[in-house]
Subunit: 783 residues, 2 copies
């Protein structure tokens, strides 16, 4: 095999020049000569390009066949999951390390960490084998990972040595762990989010400085107006006499956490002083906070747009390369790719694609039935593959084949018609509402407990009836979210209730945990009602669609939280202690720290909000994100350490609330606007048109690319259409898969600005400038 693979090294130049070759007719004899003897290596290479384009991967891999195989292995989903699993284990070590939730001996955590580090090293070495050596060391994200591994090792050694000799030691390298999430190859979206934040920072900084100037001015005014009047706060402390205290108090007022308490002493003194605070809140809370959102939103959008533009450009360039590998020349025309080639390529890229689906895609690409496609049509392939087409085989109900006489009898038909009737749905909506009332009643009444069994039976009956009247495989097909949801909830509830009853009967003992699960399942069942109301379904579908994006923000939040949690644990661990409710320790009244005697923190019973382990740290950080009582929480920690501990909390507020939450809001806003305004992409509609042309489409009221909605409609159609006309054995329907990846959403967001037919950008690449041979890739640099 290696022998036949000697060619690709030479061919590697072809895709580079493909755009030029594609234009001139004369000097492309070379391409057309090699056209008809494509090797397996060619197809492998082209498949890798297409797959990279499809998933927006931007790795400049070696094009030797060996490297390509290594590269394919590198991109294997199993290895990717493994990497995330190791990162998760590495991050989760914080649970077992001192200060621990579940303490484990040092040697155990150290060994686990060493295993993780070894895995990261192996992955890094694998990556180094895939891409050229000099590129590897140019990429900051590789250097980052290398540095993290090295520093972690150094820290472990120092920590072990210090601990062994009884000294105080800090595991400072734990702060670096979440950075792995950012710097691994798969962390593209996260890197992009961080880059967008970094790019928006200068603008945010200017607004922040102006905002701080305003706070400082108001503080000075407050000092002059209130400082000399001898007012007292409700705790009896002097009111607005120390400048730095005033700045802090007014900063807290921006978060609204101490409103209206901070105003009350002045307001009680004179009603005119309320004007000061009203002006302050108006300017700093309402106007400046809106300006922050505007600036964050605007900058984030601007840079993201730029990045997505680069991404799309890189994608097209990769497709052009793949085209260059597979192109052949027919007579004097433009270079083309034949159907046979294309078929082989698609089978390589997506081995599980059905023949029908592949033929559908081909008929979309080769609109004029020429048997071959040009560059423009070929380049669409990555996007076409990303459009999820649902195939539905219309199969008869199994009962119809097994017991046709019974299933087609008139009572059976009546049952089917009844289940498919709207009244059936409304009846069950009513049952759910009645159920909701019963859930609200006291479940210890034996009558009500029995009624619950009745409801469960009703729900089971519903599922069985539906299975009877609809084809079971269609009912449980991959996209029938609500059917799955219903069935799982009902069956789990059944199992939990049986276990609960068994426990009760056996020993009279009721497990609280199982009861809790039963209750939660019962209530979750009620959500079904919402899905039956069209307007609500539309909102929920939008929320579901932006779900994956929210996950990227989830990673962002985890990275930031983890870093703050690690620092917070080193600073504040053990300073505040929590005592169980039944504890009689006298220290309980002040959280085990005499410095908190009579403090607001202890009075509010906030002792469990501490940095004593990673779980309570995360919960505390979440409370700080919500901002309310932020000043009380931070005052507790400053009381037990030093006034400068405020810096930690203010910094957290600026990073998380002012920047990250605003980006989150910006993203939700943008995603909603896209939902409201953007229609389907051109490609999707052309695919759809083709499906309709071939009369393979599923009859539905409106093709709105709205998966769950469409499937629901289809569900009913499938039952009804039986009586109308003969359907084709196979039907297609488009579900927007691209949408499910963040990249897809982003590309769709900015698609309007990108001309889909414009290939000028391909020619932007200057073959004489080697730096441009590299894709103009926004993902190479790291945070």
């Amino acid at each position: 095999m290696l022998k036949t693979m000697s060619e690709p090294d030479k061919k590697e130049i072809t895709p580079e020049e493909a755009p030029e070759n594609g234009k001139g007719i004369r000097n492309s004899g070379n391409a057309s000569e090699t056209g008809n003897r494509k090797t397996k290596g060619d197809f492998d290479l082209a498949a890798v390009y297409v797959s990279d384009a499809q998933y927006n991967r931007n790795i400049f891999f070696d094009t030797t066949p060996q490297a390509i195989r290594l590269y394919l292995l590198y991109n294997h989903w199993g290895l990717q999951i493994l990497v995330y699993a190791f990162i998760l284990v590495d991050l989760a070590l914080a649970i077992f390390e001192d200060p621990a939730v579940v303490p484990l001996p040092i040697w155990v955590t150290s060994v686990i960490e060493l295993v993780c580090l070894a895995a990261f090293t192996a992955r890094l070495v694998h990556y180094a084998k895939v891409i050229p050596r000099e590129r590897f060391w140019k990429d900051p994200k590789n250097i980052c990972i290398f540095a993290i591994i090295l520093l972690s090792l150094v820290d472990m050694i120092i920590y072990g040595a210090l601990k062994a000799s009884g000294f105080y030691a800090v595991r400072w390298s734990r702060v670096l762990r979440p950075l792995l999430l950012v710097n691994i190859t798969e962390g593209r979206q996260l890197r992009r989010a961080f880059r967008s934040i970094r790019n928006a920072l200068p603008q945010i900084l200017y607004v922040f400085l102006l905002f701080m100037f305003s706070v400082l001015m108001f503080s000075l005014m407050a000092l002059k107006l209130f400082g000399k009047r001898g007012l007292k706060t409700i705790e009896g402390r002097p009111y607005f006499t120390n400048y730095l205290e005033i700045v802090f108090d007014l900063y807290v007022l921006v978060t609204t956490a101490n409103s209206p308490d901070i105003m009350m002493p002045a307001y009680n003194f004179s009603v005119y002083f309320a004007v000061f605070f009203i002006t302050y809140i108006l300017i700093n809370t309402y106007i400046f906070m809106s300006v922050f959102l505007a600036v964050v939103y605007n900058n984030y959008k601007k840079y993201l747009k730029e990045e997505v533009r680069k991404l799309v450009r890189a994608k097209r360039h990769k497709m052009v390369r793949a085209f260059g590998v597979l192109q052949e020349r027919k007579g004097e025309g433009e270079p083309v790719v034949s159907q046979a080639c294309w078929n082989q390529l698609v089978r390589l890229v997506q081995p599980d694609i059905s023949n029908a689906h592949r033929e559908l895609l081909w008929s979309v690409s080769d609109d004029n039935n020429k048997g071959c496609i040009g560059k423009v049509a070929f380049v669409q392939l990555a996007d076409l593959l990303n459009i999820q087409v649902i195939m539905m085989k219309s199969r008869p109900h199994p009962l119809k084949t097994w017991l046709p006489s019974l299933y087609l009898s008139s009572p059976s038909r009546l049952v089917c018609r009844m289940v498919q009737h709207k009244a059936f749905m409304y009846t069950y909506d009513l049952i759910i509402l009645v159920n909701a009332v019963f859930i609200g009643l006291d479940e210890e009444d034996p009558l009500i407990a029995n009624v619950e069994w009745a409801f469960l039976v009703l729900y089971l009956l519903e599922i069985l009836l539906k299975l009877y009247s609809f084809e079971p495989r269609a009912f449980f097909s991959r996209h029938q979210f609500w059917n799955w949801f219903d069935t799982i909830i009902v069956i789990t509830a059944l199992i939990a209730m049986i276990i609960n009853s068994a426990l009760k009967l056996s020993g009279g003992y009721t497990s609280r945990q199982i009861l809790d699960i039963v209750f939660i399942l019962r209530i979750l069942r009620l959500i079904r009602v919402v899905d039956n109301i069209k307007r609500f379904r539309a909102i929920i579908n939008t929320l579901i669609k932006i779900g994956p994006t929210i996950l990227t923000f989830g990673q962002l939040i985890v990275v930031v939280y983890y870093i703050f949690a690690m620092v917070g644990m080193e600073l504040f661990k053990g300073k505040i202690r929590f005592f169980e409710a039944n504890s009689t320790d006298p220290d309980k009244a002040f959280c085990g720290n005499p410095l908190l005697k009579n403090s607001v923190f202890a009075k509010h019973n906030y002792c469990k909000n501490n940095f004593n382990n990673v779980v309570s740290s995360f919960i505390l950080l979440l409370e700080l994100t919500v901002v309310n009582q932020w000043h009380v929480l931070s005052s507790g920690f400053t009381a037990v350490t030093h006034i400068s501990a405020r810096m930690f909390f203010v910094l957290f507020h600026i990073v998380v609330v002012i920047i990250i939450i605003n980006i989150f809001i910006a993203f939700v806003l943008e995603a909603f606007f896209v939902e409201y305004t953007v229609d389907q992409s051109n490609l999707q509609s052309s695919l759809e048109k083709k499906i309709e042309e071939l009369e393979l489409g599923v009859k539905q009221e409106k093709l709105d690319g709205n998966l769950v909605d469409a499937m629901e409609t289809n569900d009913n159609d499938m039952g009804n259409s039986e009586s109308t006309k003969e359907k084709p054995a196979l039907m297609f329907k488009i579900a927007c898969k691209r949408y499910k990846t963040v990249d897809g959403l982003l590309q769709r967001m900015f698609e309007a600005d990108l001309d889909p037919e414009d290939f000028a950008d391909d020619e932007d690449f200057d073959p004489n400038n080697p730096s441009n041979l590299n894709f103009p890739n926004p993902n190479f640099d790291s945070v």
Copy 2:
């Protein structure tokens, strides 16, 4: 005069058909015949059309000369101010009516109210005279005003009668007063804002229902999870046992006002329960609140766009009518308006326009120097007049003319150059910063008090030096905001300090009020530093530009607050009392109401937050808008009345926080995006090009339509350019006046979507359909 005016009634038909006439050449003989004998009535009518187009007025007035004169009077700025003054007095009556801040006898407030009502009636009658009778009664806003006046009278009579006979009476009609602000002719922007809200309501409602469904589900889950565990809140009450209480508590958690307190009992019991609250906050606080913002923003923008589109269409239609009145025909060409006609029209519309400015506008309209303009150029007039052109006469410094030898001597030139040098500015920035430090120090130290005098002298010196080196009239020209600001602050501070010293010397007595003013002025002076930093100036200019828009929201807020304040005062007046700090009344501990004994409300010392008069009501409502401690405030009022009083507070939260504040944020966002992205309008740039062509432009680095910025630059230029080359005696510069009105901002926001050259919309008017003769006016219907 009346005689010559008999024609317009007939001519009234002409503008209606003008679009058709303008197209066909044949049947326009009529227009060309009347072309050369325009009466004063024609000009009056055309001027009214242009002025209506300019200010976006949409009143279908009678076109008899008498009605036109009445209409002109109706639009007189004096009368408009008078109407607002009467509304202000009417609204301010709440200060003097029971429950009063300053009690006045009933007969005094009644007489004042009667006067106000008489004024509103007079205005309404005036309006009825201006527009056709049948139109008057079709317009809901007239009916609204009529109803408000009538109901107020009825209420006054009932109230007076009941009071006289000693019964309990409610002044319910006071709730209607703020609706006057909405329904008067001038309340266009406010009406539009209300209409946008009303149109967005259905969408908001669906999201709200889904949100409430989610809250109810979580409440049910909380009841089941926590109700039976016998947990206690920090106040010792049972935790999460009553369903309605849980719903309220979890609703409050959405506002974050009771975070993390509401979570603590469950969290203290088990760390797993934190998951429940984290999920809740994530879904309901973060996601749903963002969705609210998205829905409000999107709908608001959508409807506003539609309204502005109609507005622009109506404007063009009015300009076409004006054109129809003044058009004449030259030979076989299109109908045109001659320069003489145009001049007379512009003089009528804007009597204070300078000849030079008028000629500039003409040269922009008549680009090819034909001496007459067609319809397309004529229609631009309203927009052209709205572009504020600043004329600057380059005048020599008065000292240069009076004492040329002295002013042009080398020491004098040195002073001028010094003042214009950047170092001068930096020196004063430094002085201001040093001043800030001194202000922070204790002002009772005599040394520091004297230093303040020194600073004052320095600031005075700065102003004098600037007046010496710059031309005083240019220095104090209308747009030099910061120069005015500086001078006023410094001179007021000087006067206040002199008064203070005089008082001190005369009796050793220091007036606290005057001292307060002195302090505030000193600190305001420091703001100057910000203006010298370019980045900050850009942000501040944007904020200043969106200022007028914020005023519309100010009115919106006043209307909503006033209604809630009136209702709140009737419900809660006198229930909670405030005692002065030095009071020894034992009731002080529970705000004069035994029901508040040991309540959180009384413990927080919130007694002054009550509905006992209109001022404290407004302040309380503002505190409720800020949301923090919202539940404590509302719990106080439910404790002294009934649990159902919560409805009032929840309703206030939904209306103000969920809807109005979100619209405010949406508007700030949109305004910022417009600032960031939209360039100057076509018209402005053509005007600018013309100014440049005529070499009348003021040299400046960048013409960014940024008034204050540009003027600042110009300020320095004027000093420097003296040495470079001879300037023309008169110079023009564009300031974006359109921007200063909300309409202008809105139009600019959506200008990109409106084709400026498209006249198709004129032809949308179907002359056969009389309802279309009326402008397609979004402003006719009222709230």
